[in-house]
């Protein structure tokens, strides 16, 4: 029994009304005094409440129930309530032990596009070279779009119990947002219109968007696609005709390395638990290859632009060198893919075979 005293003249009126709403028993006997007997509702509310696993990443559960929903991991969760459908709710499908560390690393490595790039550095290039830069940037923006949308979509499906995976995907999407910004800004820096976007290129990216399976999407995007982009961005860094192009591709490459690392770590973790995974990965590559067979592959304008950038001019000798450099880029991409496939447990011959089936659009 709680006795309440106070100086507000409306205390009795309000206390009576408040007690009624809260399920407590109000009494104004004896006169001029107010007493409250506690109702049961608040204690009843917490019967059947349970902890949503442990707060630490080591205390995650395998299958968090839907009704834990948005609750903080480790919180005491009232029974009942909505059961939002986060369909990626299996630790063995979404989790990687590396995720918390990778997230911390990613959060610390965020750079500011306004200051990380020396935008004042000259981009005064011959017309053909500038046009090639604009074409490559146009292509990169298109690919970054896919790379941003896919983790964002996956993120919205991951059960919040696996918070570090969500955080990592969120930062990954934010990374791509910055990539979009700097590539767009470089493309427009000399006032030229954007380059071309081919149906074949978008077709290739569309097959990534259409992949609903978390592991397969992560495999096709991060391991194979962003993996190939590591080589491409390295190539652009090496052959950049101006400091701004060099800086933006270099900054993006550091982020991409992290995206690839999570993809590989996550699939390594999963391959160890699921012996059928490799077969499914293989089938995904083959399926995607088949669906892209009759498309044009890499935009020819992009291919030409890469050669021009490596060549530096239209001189036949330069073009020969440029062409060789782009061939070497293809080889480097292939080599990188085979290495990563081997890490996931594919034998060398199978890795080579699958790498060869990867999209000609690079991503």
């Amino acid at each position: 029994m709680l006795r309440v005293v106070g100086s507000d003249p409306a205390l009795g009126v309000h206390l009576r009304a408040w007690c009624r709403g809260a399920g407590h028993v109000f009494s104004d006997e004896p006169a001029e005094s107010y007493q409250i007997a506690r109702g049961l509702a608040e204690q009843q509310r917490w019967t059947g409440a349970e902890r949503a696993g442990g707060a630490a990443p080591t205390d995650i559960v395998r299958r968090p129930p839907a009704h834990w929903g948005l609750a903080a991991r480790g919180a005491l969760v009232e029974a009942g309530g909505p059961g939002p459908s986060f369909d990626l709710d299996d630790r063995d499908v979404v989790w990687a032990d590396l995720a918390p560390r990778l997230y911390a690393h990613a959060a610390a490595a965020q750079w500011d596009p306004a200051t990380a790039v020396d935008w004042g550095a000259g981009t005064d290039l011959p017309d053909d070279i500038e046009t090639a830069v604009v074409q490559v940037m146009t292509y990169l923006v298109e690919n970054e779009q896919a790379a941003m949308v896919i983790p964002a979509r996956l993120l919205a499906r991951v059960h919040p119990h696996f918070r570090e995976v969500q955080q990592l995907l969120a930062v990954q999407a934010a990374d791509e947002a910055r990539h979009l910004e700097v590539f767009t800004r470089r493309a427009l820096s000399t006032g030229r219109p954007m380059g071309t976007s081919s149906a074949g290129g978008r077709e290739s990216l569309n097959t990534l968007l259409m992949e609903p399976d978390f592991s397969l999407a992560s495999f096709l995007l991060s391991v194979l696609g962003e993996g190939s982009f590591l080589s491409l961005l390295g190539f652009l860094d090496e052959h950049a005709p101006d400091p701004v192009t060099r800086q933006v591709t270099r900054l993006a490459r550091v982020d991409e390395a992290r995206h690839v690392a999570f993809g590989v770590a996550h699939l390594e973790h999963q391959a160890a638990l699921d012996p059928t995974l490799k077969g499914r990965l293989r089938a995904a590559v083959e399926r995607r290859h088949d669906s892209l067979t009759d498309t044009a592959g890499l935009n020819a304008d992009v291919f030409d632009a890469l050669i021009i950038l490596a060549a530096g001019s239209w001189e036949p000798e330069a073009i020969r060198r440029g062409h060789a450099a782009v061939r070497a880029l293809h080889d480097a991409m292939d080599e990188g893919r085979r290495q990563r496939l081997t890490r996931l447990g594919f034998p060398a011959d199978e890795a080579a075979e699958l790498s060869a089936l990867h999209t000609r659009n690079f991503m």
Partner: protein, 286 residues
């Protein structure tokens, strides 16, 4: 299907009424009770259908309960208040004035304008005006009654009339306003009544509000099961808790009919209904 399903009436004073009774229907069906509900746009038709036996039960406002009693008595039927929410018991209404006004008691309101709720609001019109009469002040003669008719036919379930009266008080259009105690708290919290701007001039005795009315033509076994299932609903049950929260209670209590004396007196004084439950209220078109 009379006799095979317990049929309850409720008034759709708000869209959430559908959600509430759909939820109860689902819950009760899960417990094995064939239960269905009919929604009405106002209480008068619901009460008539109840006493005519077209309904077995009705979720009744206090005014609807009194009319059900009068109608039933006139036809040799009986109705009973079977269950109530904990929040339906021991409510009070208050007469509120501006804090800086000079009024020290109800008698000081002589000749002034007083804001009340809708014509059929028990808590904001009928009971407070009856309280005034008991203090020797005749509404419409000693004070000017300004009615805020929002949701007429809903027996005061719509909060709009009380809120409009509160606003008019703050705006200086009326000298006093009547409302239920909980709404004085709510209006103070939401800022309709600025903090410290009003004070309570008078408070009525506690009275009761809604109840689940059962008519004697209802199939006895189904009616008993219905009451038992409601009384057994526990706030500790996570399936039940959202329903109780939505309907605004923590626990169902056995119904009682002792808390309607003040309203019954008001109904008789104003001739709101006649003794046989006839609709005789002036300026009342539900």
């Amino acid at each position: 299907m009379p006799g095979t399903t317990l049929l309850m009436g409720a008034v759709a004073y708000d869209p959430k009424v559908v959600t509430i009774w759909e939820g109860f229907r689902h819950y009760l069906a899960g417990k094995g009770l064939p239960f269905d509900f009919v929604l009405y746009s106002h209480y008068e038709r619901q009460v008539e259908d109840l006493v005519d036996g077209r309904l077995d039960a009705a979720w009744n406002s206090p005014l609807a309960w009194l009319r059900a009693q009068r109608l039933a008595a006139a036809r040799g039927r009986t109705v009973r208040s079977a269950v109530m929410r904990d929040t339906d018991q021991d409510l009070t209404s208050v007469v509120v004035v501006r804090a800086d006004s000079a009024y020290a008691g109800l008698g000081d309101l002589q000749g002034q304008v007083m804001g009340v709720g809708a014509v059929d609001s028990p808590q904001a019109t009928l009971i407070p005006l009856s309280h005034l009469r008991a203090a020797g002040i005749r509404p419409d003669e000693d004070v000017v009654v300004h009615r805020f008719d929002v949701g007429v036919g809903l027996h005061g379930d719509h909060i709009g009339g009380e809120r409009d009266a509160a606003r008019a008080l703050v705006a200086g259009e009326v000298e006093a306003a009547c409302m239920i105690d909980g709404n004085h708290l709510l209006f103070s919290q939401e800022g309709t009544l600025p903090a410290g701007a009003t004070r309570v001039l008078a408070q009525t005795e506690p009275y009761d509000h809604c109840n689940m009315t059962l008519v004697d033509t209802a199939p006895t076994d189904l009616a008993e099961e219905f009451v038992e299932l409601l009384l057994a609903m526990s706030y500790a049950d996570p399936q039940v808790r959202p329903l109780l929260d939505l309907e605004g209670l923590k626990v169902w209590r056995p119904g009682r009919d002792i808390g309607y004396t003040a309203l019954d007196r008001a109904v008789t004084q104003t001739g709101f209904y006649d003794e046989r439950g006839g609709l005789t209220a002036k300026e009342y078109i539900p």
